[in-house]
Amino acid sequence: MSATHATGKGMTLTLHVWRQAGPNAAGRIVDYPAPDISPDMSFLEMLDVVNERLIAKGEEPIAFDHDCREGICGSCGLMINGSAHGPMKLTTACQLHMRSFKDGDDIWIEPWRAKAFPVIKDLVVDRGAFDRIIQAGGYISAPTGTPQDANALPIPKADADLAMDNAACIGCGACVAACPNASASLFTAAKITHLGSLPQGQPERDRRALAMVAQMDEEGFGGCTLHGECQEACPKGISIDAIMQMNRDFVRASATAVQAKEWSGAA
């Protein structure tokens, strides 16, 4: 029915979408014409419209991950025209709008590509590797009783800001997707910096750096070569300065572990 409420401003696009029936199926790029797309739609709403048309034709809709559609959950993640989350800076795919494109554009839509992020279906990848990196040490072990008084533990403003900036990570995986090495350094470093900036994070700081880096490698992510692509792709603007912190913590923890002869290696 899209033709009936076409405003005359509808865009006609050509989508080139990665279709893959399952984890072990061979995938390929399939072209879909997408006429009558409103510039006011979000990118995911555009995919919803395309999917409704596919369903109406009896075809399998394009599978993609999404949840909050407010740019805060980290569920959506698409490589759009060769750029993680598309052309807008500091913006997730769900917050990207079709006005960022021009009538007649070709749009390439692909899943995050990394050995550690296997494709489940079409554009949906398994980001369980991120969960396992967090499980390795991205937490503090604190008794969770009644919260203490807010001012009982004074934290300098600069430290609180640094922790907050890095805690902004939504775990979407754009850093891995954009990195030429499929490295998870920015994700891992953000958590190490977040917790390492706060007094609560100090007791486990060394162990955390060793265990999280070991798990990051174990998952099959690549290493950091400081291209800077992750920082550019990150919808939360997390700085590659975090990676300096991760490396420093890792080296310091290694030296401490040697001194204490309590190196445990891979967690």
């Binding site: 990665w18 590509r113 030429p180 099959g220 070569t225 291209h227 890792f250």
Partner: protein, 218 residues
């Protein structure tokens, strides 16, 4: 020594080794360039400087051994990390647009291979004299002039120094950041110092083959 094995096994450990050895090699390259520029002072100054280096005896060999170990570690770590990084993305994108990565950062591996080939040739050219048409143990100035008169050889020097400049532009900046030796910055990609270093080293080294080819040095 199991801690060493675990450290080396990690991508962060290998990158730390690359950064430390890389910074050592940057130090050598800067000193080497300053030494070379004495070509412009004259034959006597250059030959005296070369004789001074050779007169250090065992110290010279300690320095050479240190550089060899640094280069070997740098190359081994680079090779292993390259393999890890390639394996991390078995299936690439149909379309990928680099946003902020530089030509220098994307050509570190190619540049490294060019530099390794250059170092082997260069040692055979001016250190052992194997690839030199008329090598003299004491006449360094003459060796350089004669050795760089061939446009092909001089061209290889110029190409290798362009590779070195690019390698330094990314590497000097990235090495310091890998070690976490910088302050937090609002624009961490900004790299004035390594830009300056890369230009100075590139220009300083390239000046010699170009000056020989143009007949300024003879």
């Amino acid at each position: 020594m199991s801690w060493l094995r675990t450290f080396w096994a990690s991508t962060v450990g290998k990158k730390t080794v690359m950064a430390v050895t890389g910074i050592m090699l940057v130090g050598f390259v800067v000193a080497h360039m300053l030494g070379n520029l004495q070509m412009f002072i004259g034959a006597e100054a250059m030959n005296k400087y070369a004789a001074l280096l050779k007169s250090t005896g065992e110290l010279l060999w300690v320095a050479r051994a240190g550089l060899l170990v640094a280069a070997a570690l740098h190359i081994t770590a680079a090779y292993q990390l390259t393999m890890i990084n390639r394996a991390a993305r078995p299936e690439g994108y149909a379309k990928q647009e680099p946003q902020v990565s530089t030509l220098a950062s994307r050509t570190m591996r190619l540049g490294g291979v060019i530099l390794a080939a250059f170092i082997i040739f260069h040692l055979g050219h001016f250190t052992t004299g194997t690839f030199h048409p008329a090598f003299s143990e004491t006449g360094v100035y003459g060796n350089v002039i004669l050795g760089l008169r061939s446009p092909l050889v001089a061209g290889f020097y110029v190409l290798a120094m362009a590779a070195l400049g690019l390698h330094l532009f990314h590497g000097a900046w990235a090495g310091v950041r890998t070690l976490g030796l910088r302050k937090r910055s609002a624009d961490p990609m900004y790299r004035r110092l390594s830009m300056g270093l890369a230009i100075v080293v590139w220009a300083g080294f390239t000046a010699i083959p170009v000056a020989v080819l143009l007949g300024i040095l003879n």
